[in-house]
Symmetry: C2
Subunit: 324 residues, 2 copies
């Protein structure tokens, strides 16, 4: 049986995680540093994405490795933060080698949190640089980084990280920033949709929901307004090829489907980045199948963790606040 | 609250459903006839698809309407059955008008059931023609048509159909043929993954599972072998544009994710066709969001119905046989 991991223990060796959090503007960004270069891929499934350096990730394109992935608030304005990560990597000499020096490859994706804070200050170059400087092998979850201003179906969203150690020795992990249009919980019962995926040791996070007051008007899919987008980065230390890394991203999307309803809508930018350690030589498809299955489960758990570990913000209740 | 529909009552006006069932070869095919032409789209997410006429369904390509969609057993050999549907439509003068006469547009997708019957006889031209001739406004579910030889995670798969009437008056439906590598039920408890999606009136289909004997070795994702692929056709009477019809297909994939674990793997050909009535003028994105959300839920319910309504076949237990 695969062993469930979460928080810092789920972070793969060779990766570091850094948050920049702006509580006044209620926004921020989160960087996954993979300085030595990990094979990269992406799968974009929402209809309103905001992205940078995703085209080169197509399996048929040349560059295979990325040095970082950035998730950021600020809608398309927040893409500027990627330049700060590029600057940090360039200073360290990490990137794709070219005759004119290294070019750091930093795919990025945004979520919408404009107007939620007291001031308008979307993450910029300095925010990205600070996030990279702050990167550690320790993981902070909840309302931090790209999740600082996040809202998930009416409750406070945030950042979560979960993973698995598989029997065959490979690890897989998922980092998410949850700012979903869809709800992570059943409005009638308060139950989190993915509760059954939580590991035994994570169930202590679940609040008592005996005092949840589901309104009879809370039918399943009202005309949902609001903003939008679940972003994920899944990673494995198995030596996937670039095309297999994309399959990992594709399978991981099912983890969003199982935790958020609805998902992949016309009004969100749901996407999954995937990273794999090694030189891209590839693995047996049965190994890939298992890695993808557990990557999806890790995404579901990371979404639950983000919702469970995020406190409220002005005007945005935490999930546990709904439960009395 | 949207009203749940199933079986014949869920089939949209203007569509007809026809099965060809070969119990000796344990295979068959299922056609959805949309003779007057419905806007068509597809979303392919499995890594091992077998398809026909899917490229023209891309939003940027010219032909907007299809006259039928075919789901068939026989792996890639079964694609021949589409020619029978083309012949049927051509005889009736239905298709894309050209100077040389009408050209029926019949997208098709296959599932793998070779070697499950007593003889090798994948669906051919005559099978497709017979399925079209048999098409009615009445729906037969279970081990019929494309689901005749289907296996879903070790139990008998089949065909199911479910839908919704939304408050705003639009309908959405999902037809599925379930032959999934992943399991539709939790091996430890016997619970169907999507049980909570069933409508009140459908819950009578659920067998008593008090006698289910989950093996402690039944851990979540063993090295799954076996074959493969969940095929779906979702449809709505809302006048979606061709690109919106594709979004409907994309959102509907989440219904597979919620009913089958794992899904969209390296070893299946999971895909969703989508059909929309009208001239493709498009709807408000909030309407599309709701249609997509309910299309996904309909897919989940249709998968459950397929598994619950299918009896066993030689060497393939029905789901209810597991429950004592």
């Amino acid at each position: 049986m695969a062993e469930a991991l979460w928080g810092s223990s789920a972070l793969l060796a060779g990766l570091r995680l850094g948050h920049f959090t702006d509580l006044e503007a209620l926004t921020g960004c989160t960087v996954v540093l993979a300085e030595e270069g990990w094979v990269g891929a992406v799968d974009v499934r929402g209809a309103a994405p905001g992205t940078r350096e995703t085209d080169l990730l197509a399996p048929e394109n040349t560059v295979e490795k990325v040095q970082a992935v950035l998730l950021t608030g600020g809608s398309a304005l927040g893409l500027a933060a990627a330049e700060g990560v590029v600057r940090y990597l360039r200073e360290k000499g990490k990137g794709f080698p070219t005759p004119g020096g290294v070019v750091p490859i930093v795919p990025a994706a945004v979520l919408y949190d404009l107007g939620r804070g007291k001031v308008h200050r979307p993450p910029g170059v300095e925010a990205g640089y600070q996030a990279a400087l702050a990167a550690r092998e320790r993981v902070e979850e909840g309302s931090v980084g790209a999740g600082t201003g996040a809202v998930a179906g009416g409750v406070k969203g945030g950042v979560g990280l979960a993973g698995y150690l598989l029997e065959e020795g490979h690890r897989v992990m998922a980092l998410v920033a949850v700012n979903s249009l869809g709800r992570p919980f059943d409005p009638l019962t308060g139950r989190l949709y993915g509760e059954e995926f939580l590991a035994e040791g994570e169930r202590a996070l679940l609040p008592d929901r005996s005092r949840y007051w589901g309104s009879p008007e809370d039918y399943r899919y009202p005309f949902l307004l609001g903003q939008n987008t679940t972003l994920a980065v899944v990673a494995t230390d198995a030596p996937l090829s670039k095309a297999q890394t994309r399959r990992l991203a594709i399978m991981a999307q099912d983890g969003i489907a199982r935790a958020i309803r609805p998902a992949h809508t016309p009004l969100d930018g749901d996407l999954v980045f995937a990273l794999a350690l090694g030189e891209g030589k590839g693995v047996d498809p049965y190994i890939l199948l298992r890695l993808g299955a557990y990557a999806a489960d890790a995404v579901t758990r990371a979404i639950l963790r983000a919702v469970l570990l995020s406190g409220g913000a002005p005007g945005i209740p935490a999930y546990r606040d709904l439960l009395g």
